[in-house]
Structure formats: C-alpha cells, structure tokens
Amino acid sequence: MAVLTYLQAISEGMREEMRRDESVVLLGEDIGVYGGAFKVTKGFIDEFGPKRVIDTPISESAIVGAAVGMALYGFRPIAEIQFADFITVAYNQIVQNAATIHYRYGFPVPIVVRAPSGAGVHGGPFHSQNPEALFTHVPGLKVVAPSTPADAKGLLKAAVRDDNPVLYFEHKYLYRRIKGEVPEDDDFTVPIGVADVKRPGRDATVITYGSTVHTALQAAEDLSAEGAEVEVLDLRTLRPYDEQAILDSVGRTNRVLVLHEASKTGGVGAEIAAFITENAFEKLDAPVMRLGGLDTPVPYSPPLEEYWLPSKERVVGALRRLLEY
C-alpha cells in the first residue's frame, strides 16, 4: 500500500474513477489549468482534457444544476465547491432538485459534490464552515465526511459509483497534515453507510467523523495512560448513518460522547444522540453527551478560533465526566 496524504488520496480516487469510467466528469472553478484552489485536480486537465475537466464561471447554483442535468443524461459529474462555505449558494439545487428527482420520477442522479470544509486554518467565518448538518435532514441525499486518506479515497470512489447525489465533505485541515496507507486496488471502495472503529475500547465511545476523529484519537491516547480505554467510532457517512455499528459500540461501552467540529446545536450529533437514546436506552450507563464547535460563526483571530474549536482538552474533560458518571 502506498502512503498518501489525505489530499493525494482524494486526488487519486478521482483520477482512478475518471480512468475507469469515461462518464465521470468534473465541474468547478479553477479546477482546470490551475488544478483547483487546493490542487486536488492538479494535472487532471492534461490527462482528461477540458471536456471532462470543466472550468466554470463563478456560479455554484449553475454548477450543481448542470451536474444534475448531465447526470440525467448519462454522465457522473463531480462538482467541486471551492470552499464548503459557498455550498449555501447552491443549496436550492442540492436539496430541491438533486435530492428529490429519484423519489418523484425514478431517475437516478449520480452526482458527487465535493466541498473542502472545516476550521483550524484561520479562514474566518466564510472559509471555515462545516455545513454537513444543513443537509442531513434532507431525504434523498447521502453525506460523507472522511477522516483518513484510505477513507477519503474509498469514499470518493464509492460516491462516484453511487447512483444518488452524494455530498463529500473533505476537511481541508487534514489535506496535507494527515498521511496514511491507502490500498492501491482499483476497485477499493469504502461502502457508504458503514462506520469504522478507529480505535477499540471498552469504557466509553466517542462517535465522531472528519477532523475530530483525530482529536478523539488523541484524547483516547491520553486517557489510555490513565487506564481508561475509549473507543473511537468514525461514522464516515452521516446520512444514512450506520445504525448497527452505533448500537454495537454502545453495547460494548455503555457510555457515549458524540463529537464534531461543527457547532453543537442542531448538528449531526443531535441526531446520533437522539437515535441512541431511542434505541439503546437500557444500554446507557450515562447520558449521551455532545461536544461541538461553539454556537457562533467561526472567528478569524487565532485565540478566538482555538477557543471555538472542540479541543483535545475539552474532549478529555467530557470523557472524564462521562467515565465518572
């Protein structure tokens, strides 16, 4: 297996799918000659040409809408939103058009919307957002958020092969900071809807995804030194989420912290916590706790942004309370 950065893994996943299947095309701003704002599509236009690597005007609603139209007529477009924050401009196309077509008319809409998300890079309120929970309420969408290079590649490839609209939130803080082994098998995919135990444990579970998987792993490491074994369950897919994996983990540890970088209120964690309470009430030795980013926009200045983020210290603190409950 090759060792790749998270960013390289996404890139490789796309490249492989484009080589495998001519119907896979890319749409986005600056994705051609420039290779994308984060260089995820570097070299793609040379290999696949401008017909399949379509540099668009700045018009996210048209980008997603056009992707839907192409998907209805034989293509499998991957639309890139330059920063996830701007996905709200394309919101209507995603939640009203893409999400509902199959239910209404029975046509598959195989599009992927890639969106670099997340804070920690001093991007301020509009280059730091984690908008996944704006979509997980919407029937018809699939939402994924990988935390490792292998998952990033596997989920990308699965998303391209899926016949439904898949929102792919890639965390830009992880792009070059996280490296890992990635299977080279052309048909390696990570199935959508399947969670993954990133660290097994018996005393408590952190259910999380994306960047905070790493925060959770660090917190688990710290607590392990104190004798507490914390399981880290990486959801990977936020809709449809892996009910069985969640119930299994709760069955093992009986204590759960749900964690994400996005603001806490109304976040994905609410759904997960509610699901657990509803379906594993008897298994719980403590309340399901939640931890997320502050309920504010993401501020720019480092002291503010650091305070905004759910830090390892906060995760450890929450886990201590959970373990002591």
Binding site: I54, P57, S59, G65, G69, F75, N97, K142
Partner: protein, 324 residues
C-alpha cells in the same frame, strides 16, 4: 400581420392546430374535474399561451430534451404525451407518470425525453443546460429546451444558467413565456428593461422576440435556434409575448387584470390566430374543423374514463424510492 414563409407542411400545420385545441380541451377537462372536486391540488392553465408551449416543443425531435414548466400542458402534448397521463397526474393516481408523487403537469417521461420541473421558478434552467452539455459532450446533435415565465426570468438561476450555457456553447434554448403577469404582478413591477430578450446580449447569445400567440411564428423561431444549436453554435434566448387569459390558477379570478386588456388579448387567442391563418391559406373548412373537434372529444373522453378508473396509490408506497 405579414406572415413569414414557413417550412411547415399542410399536415404539420393542421397538427399544430389540433395540438392547440387539444391543449385547450385537456385543460378545460382538468378544470371540470377540479370543479367536481376530483383534482386534489392546484390547477395552472395556459389559456392564451398555448402557441408558445406547443410551437416550441413541436420544433424538437424525440431525442431532444424538453423541460416544460408549470403551464406547459401544450409542450407535453406536442412532445407526444397522452392526455391520459396528464389526467392521471392531476388525479394523483398510482399509474400516473409520477406515481402520485408530483402534481399536475410536473412530471417526466423518459421515453419522450421530457424532464419535469420543481416548482422553484428558474431552477430547471441550469439542469436543462447540464442536459445540453451532456448532449454536446456525448457527441450527439440533440438540444435541450426549457421555458421560463417573464416573472421567473428575474431569479438568479436564469442568469447563472444562461451564462454557463453561453460559455459552454451548449445546445440550449430558453423560451421566455411572457404573459404580462407573474401571478398578480404586472411586468413593470417585475423588470425595468424593454423586453426580457434584451438580456441575451449580456450573455453574448442571440435573442429573438416573437409573437407568442402565433404557433407558426414560435415554431419557426425555435426551429432556427434548434438548428443553430445542432450546428454547435450555442444557446438562444427567445421571448414569446402573449397573455395569460385565465387567473394564475383555477382559484384566482384575476381581478387585477384590467378588463380592457383581457378583451384586447382575447382577439389574439392562439386558436383564433391559427384558425385565421389556416383559413387564409385554405387549409381549414368546417368539415376539417369538425373532424379535429370530434377526434379531440373522443380522445379526451376515453382518457378521462380510463384515468378515473385508475386506482390511487397504496399509502405505504409513500415510503419508497427516496434512493436509487
């Protein structure tokens, strides 16, 4: 009014006339069913606008893709749809094209290359542009055509969609059905330009303003745009001017429309306009007219009967089919 020369055959002209009348008859039937309490949702009519809807869709081949909007009964029919499908839709029946999920003429038909719309005005424009891009990329010579009201033409997706289509030289045609009102809103509160087609220059594409009450004129304009698109020369914006001769929907009496204006436009009822043309060209007499009317009556009667006999969907079906 000087008539342009047209490439339409006698048969085609009579077919267009039949389609105009069929559209009117289908909609009148829907209103009847509505008044009988059988249509559960709203009814949006195209009386006065049939020429644009029929004429534009008639310029398409089967493999061209049609994106009709909320009043385009005529376009569905001109693309080959059956009245029965339309009645089934309004009645929300299990074997309607949307299986009871979407109301009225919001429906698709894969075999006819018709893609139904969401209600959000303008939202289909980028989707139709995408379909056009797909045709081009696949090396096909087909085009996609979408409609928009003059009201809907003020929404962001109109701009984004047309601009993208222009840059991509996508084989796309957008027909603005300018019927003087957006619901109750008169044009001077909708836009401040002369004509919506004035916007074409802002995308670097041709724009054509046509009499939207004359089905032949609309057909010719769209046909030209279709041929242009097939040649790889990109999109065209067409504005068809006409009048909505009914309320916004079946429950709207349109009191906000000055009586005089209504009267004036009644003279330009697309069926009258086409009848005058056909008579002038010696293609229509009482006998032919009667044959057409009888054919329509028969077709409608049969379709209504079959539609009414069709079952409603089973409740539990509601939960199915969110994902492919």
């Amino acid at each position: 009014m000087p008539k342009k020369k047209t490439s339409l055959t006698k048969e085609q002209k009579l077919e267009l006339y039949y389609l105009l009348k069929l559209t009117r008859a289908v909609e009148e039937t829907v209103v009847r069913l509505y008044k009988q309490g059988r249509v559960v949702g709203g009814v949006y009519l195209s009386r006065g606008m049939e020429a644009a809807s029929v004429g534009a869709a008639y310029a398409l081949e089967r493999d061209d893709i049609l994106f009709p909007i909320h009043r385009d009964t005529g376009a569905h029919l001109a693309k080959g749809q059956s009245p029965k499908a339309i009645f089934l839709q309004y009645l929300g029946r299990a074997d309607s094209p949307s299986r009871g999920r979407d109301p009225g003429i919001h429906f698709s038909d894969r075999s006819l290359n018709v893609v139904g719309n969401i209600s959000h005005l303008g939202s289909m424009i980028p989707v139709a542009v995408g379909a056009a891009m797909a045709m081009k990329l696949a090396g096909k010579k087909n085009v996609s055509l979408n409609f928009i009201g003059e009201g809907g033409s003020n929404i962001g997706d109109f701009h984004e969609g047309l601009n993208l289509a222009a840059v991509q030289k996508a084989p796309f045609i957008l027909v603005v059905e300018n019927n003087q009102f957006a619901y109750s809103t008169p044009t001077h509160l909708e836009y401040a330009c002369e004509n919506i087609v004035d916007r074409a220059v802002g995308y670097g594409i041709p724009g054509e303003l046509v009499d939207g009450t004359d089905v032949v004129v609309v057909y010719e304009a769209v046909k030209k745009a279709v041929e242009r698109a097939r040649r790889g020369e990109g999109p065209t914006l067409i504005e068809a001017k006409m009048m909505r001769l009914t309320g916004h929907s079946a429950h709207d009496d349109a009191k906000y429309v000055p009586e005089e204006l209504k009267k004036q436009w009644e003279q330009k009822d697309p069926i009258l306009v086409m009848r005058r043309r056909l008579e002038a060209e010696g293609l229509l007499d009482e006998k032919v007219e009667k044959e057409i009317d009888q054919r329509i009556e028969r077709e409608i009667e049969e379709a209504v009967e079959q539609a009414l006999a069709s079952p409603l969907p089973k409740p539990e079906e509601a939960a199915e089919g969110v994902y492919a």
